[in-house]
Point group: C2
Chain length 561, copies 2
């Protein structure tokens, strides 16, 4: 009933907010480029429309879309064999994809998981959806039901949609993937942190304090209510259907099993839809490059041997199977496959082997190392660029608008809010030099941290108050952002001021959600465990304490029986 209600609300929003023929509202900077290149883009688009029609005619369906996105990987870590050669590992499938398909050298994301995933789902900077901060269990919040995901947009155009893997967009029922537009979903509401739940990991002190029963007695540990247990690892469900917990944590030997299940389901979903001649959108976002090694297998696949690189070769092997399957199903030409990471490497608090490669910084940072990722694509039926090493700027939100355009679903994109993504189909067809974007606004959490315009960048966060600040960078000259410049880049100051002012003016007109939408966590699970159920009850009754144990919760929980 609840699910139905959510679906109805969503449908209502789409109907009321999309006036056919009304233009999408983009970020202000877009219109500056549109004014200069609109005619050229229009001409390109006419040719693309013809090509898309010819492709549809040839294959009998609109193009399929597969989006694979894993964690925490630096630009250069995949797709450039020369670099892998000095790092002791190899991803031959992705390297071949890069050689034959498109290698995007300047794909920008948000600097961390939750925001990037929210961007991909909504086509909007995470600051607009309130999903600007990495969620950790227990979060009591999630992606708002009123956000219109790419799954909803593509569903409206007749696509089958499926999500498998790391969702990380909240633990409230309305944020579950199958309540956000996916026909089929098998997903982790959180990041891989609950994968640390496995008791085996405690042998290596990976987790700290999760299993007091394993440690020698601590007579000072006296509060049994302080730390929640009953985290949920993986959920599954279908659009409008019930929600189930999958597996039986913490008994599952380790979290690699989730990816194995995801891979199986991804392949099955693709086969079913290919056979039914139905266009599909599959998002498989592996949990693979996590924080703990595979405790069951001391033997490593790579000389490098670190968690990230071991994970990358596993993802690579699966992509190999997937591409082979597309060939065998005869849908390779008609399928856009994009493989990428969600943000820079975990250089600050991460495990060994998460290191800078070409850029400075990593996950969480405003430097290029935080917000740029490897990204490789193939679309043999459509790509005909002369140069497939692509230096153009592409932004994670562009996937939203581009997928919609490819699917003939642009009309289902809402018109009552800012959509940061722009249509980059031309880039995916014509290759290097065809981007419709030369700007990125870089946020850290809710704060505007930096602006990018072409080769130039301004660090807003570390600007010295009262000075112009030694805060400007030329990324061609100083890609590692080691030498902030002032006098020598004076000409970029007013340019960046204008960019920021426009962006913020537009934001006043179309306000942001301040935060992820709060709610009671992990409700609506059919096979809920008692310890999970406890999570959405206040831990004490009112009369047990001299204050309300719900304290300041926006969503008061029922009290325990």
């Amino acid at each position: 009933m609840k699910n139905l209600k959510l679906t109805l609300i969503t449908l209502f929003c789409i109907v009321t907010t999309n006036v056919i023929g009304q233009e999408i509202i983009h970020d202000a900077e877009h219109y500056v480029l549109l004014k200069q290149h609109g005619d050229k883009w229009e001409n390109e688009d006419k040719v693309i429309d013809k090509k898309l029609k010819a492709l549809e005619k040839k294959h009998g369906t609109k193009p399929n879309i597969i989006h694979i996105m894993w964690d925490d990987t630096a630009v250069g870590e995949v797709g450039i064999p020369e670099i892998q050669k000095v790092r002791g590992f190899e991803t031959p499938v992705m390297n071949d994809m890069a050689k034959e398909g498109m290698n995007f050298m300047r794909m920008y994301t948000e600097p961390s998981c939750t925001p990037t995933r929210a961007d991909a789902m909504t086509g909007r900077y995470a600051v607009r959806t309130g999903m600007h901060t990495v969620s950790f269990p227990i979060e009591n919040s999630g992606l708002d039901a009123d956000e219109v995901t790419i799954a909803e947009v593509l569903s409206d155009a007749g696509y089958s949609t499926a999500f498998y893997g790391k969702w990380h967009l909240g633990d409230t029922e309305s944020s579950y993937a199958h309540n956000q537009g996916f026909d089929e979903a098998f997903f982790t509401p959180y990041n891989q942190v609950p994968s640390m739940w496995v008791r085996e990991a405690e042998a290596n002190n990976v987790v700290t304090g999760l299993y007091p029963d394993l440690y020698g007695e601590d007579i000072y540990d006296v509060d049994n209510s302080w730390q929640p247990i009953g985290y949920v690892w993986t959920l599954e469900g279908t659009k409008g259907g019930k929600t189930y917990e999958w597996g039986a944590p913490p008994a599952v030997p380790n979290f690699w099993d989730i990816d194995k299940e995801c891979e199986k389901r991804t392949m099955d979903f693709i086969r079913r839809n290919a056979k039914a001649k139905k266009p599909f959108y599959a998002a498989y976002w592996p949990t693979v490059t996590s924080f703990i090694p595979d405790a069951r297998n001391p033997e490593k696949l790579t000389a490098n041997k670190n968690v990230l690189q071991e994970g990358l070769v596993k993802v690579d092997a699966f992509i190999g199977e997937l591409l082979k399957e597309l060939e065998e199903l005869g849908i390779s030409e008609n399928t856009l496959v994009i493989v990428m990471a969600d943000n820079g490497p975990f250089t600050h608090h991460g495990p060994r082997g998460m290191v800078e490669t070409l850029y400075t910084g990593g996950k969480g940072d405003l430097t290029e190392g935080g917000v740029r990722v490897p990204c490789i694509a193939q679309w043999p039926g459509m790509f005909e660029g002369e140069d497939n090493v692509i230096g153009d700027i592409l932004h994670i939100t562009d996937l939203y608008t581009t997928f919609a355009r490819i699917a003939g679903a642009t009309d289902f994109i809402p018109r009552d809010r800012i959509i940061d993504g722009v249509d980059q189909t031309s880039l995916f067809v014509n290759g290097d030099g065809y981007s419709r974007r030369d700007y990125v606004m870089i946020y850290q959490g809710p704060n505007l941290a930096a602006g990018v315009k072409g080769r130039f960048k301004k660090d807003h966060k570390n600007a010295e108050p009262g000075l112009s600040g030694a805060e400007f960078y030329d990324l061609y000259t100083d890609p590692r952002e080691n030498n902030p410049e002032m006098i020598s880049m004076f000409h970029t100051k007013s340019m960046f001021n204008r960019q920021k002012e426009r962006h913020e003016f537009w934001m006043e007109k179309y306000p942001n959600r301040p935060d992820a939408t709060p709610g009671i966590p992990l409700t609506g699970i059919e096979n809920v465990r008692p310890e999970t159920e406890k999570l959405y009850h206040a831990p004490f009754n009112k009369e047990d304490l001299p204050f309300d144990p719900n304290e300041l919760r926006e969503y008061p929980m029922p009290f325990v029986d």
Copy 2:
């Protein structure tokens, strides 16, 4: 007469020190590998010998060798189009060479110019030849006459030899390139510093204090003898012949003219020898990536626009002409062409645009960023490796032994001193995985700073006294050497101790020259300028000062008239 004497001394050394059949003395670590792989190497060598013979039979001469080496460039800066794409420049010729030929991802040099050049010339670590420190004008020293250069070795085997460009191996007459075995030489005894001599550069304050006549009066500047003038920029000469200064500094508009002249002479030398069916060795070491931009041409070739990148595209264009010429002369198959840098980028005191790319540090550093360089080769008639992206360790000294082997000149390598270079012909023929080296001793000046063994590295310089020190690195895991390890790499401690002890024991047996060999600078120039001639006279006569104005000079200079 003097030149003849030097030549005779050199010849005498070769004759007395090379007993045919006696083995080359390598660094100690080599014998550890020889013991383990000697049989395999012998078998490989038999096949290579046959291939070399077949090649000689086909072309009528032994293979030609062209060695192009420029300054201060980070690994990744050329040969990897993906990286150039985000840096705003392109070297299409070298990128194609890397794709079709061999891309060495782990070429080690010394951390600076003079030492690397001495290594290439002698096949010995610069610490052994005394050439361990960058020379600056006026240096009063140079490469010892008793060192046996690759030009001497190849001359003995009947090769024509020529040197063009930045020599940087001393300003003493015995160190001039044509007195060190080259048939033809056109060279700068110093680095590009005298290129700052141009008065135009003073407009940008590139030099400091070289042209007091250009500045407003400084009444405190009272010592007219303190700063030498009369630096020599470029010399030319032929083996056994006279020495001339080329051009008329400081009147030459700028130093790019040197490279233009070098390019012209390189092409002419190659054509002459190809037509004469004589095998040749041409070293063209461009001065190009220097410290000042081309003042005559405000228009830039690249979007990047910095001095290094502008230089790289110029070198690239010349290499393109060169390769085309080899094709036209029909000697492409029979010519080994190696293009590379001499050390890491000038990150500490250099101009804008000299930045880290994949590794930490630059020129002068013991980190990988200091001692690893891009290196690309082609030898179409011989290379038949399955994988041309090469992760093996290669060392600059290996070029000496490898060139000698290819030329059938191994017998002319001296047997009375340590030769650090090993024969890497197999790597140049069979590609990835065929190196005969897994070790490098990294020196900074005369001090052993670090040891490399395969993926592992020990920083000897920064080791905490009294501890094992947090000083070990795994270069696959931590290529940027950000996180020195101790406990987790305990197993490498005794390995590195053994490596160092062997190396130092061998050094006691075969002692180093302590320094570059001293001497009077810039003598023997036929068209010497008066101000240059003044440089090799003491600035005052004895009676002018209460002490000997030659002070502690090892080579007393004549007094001024």
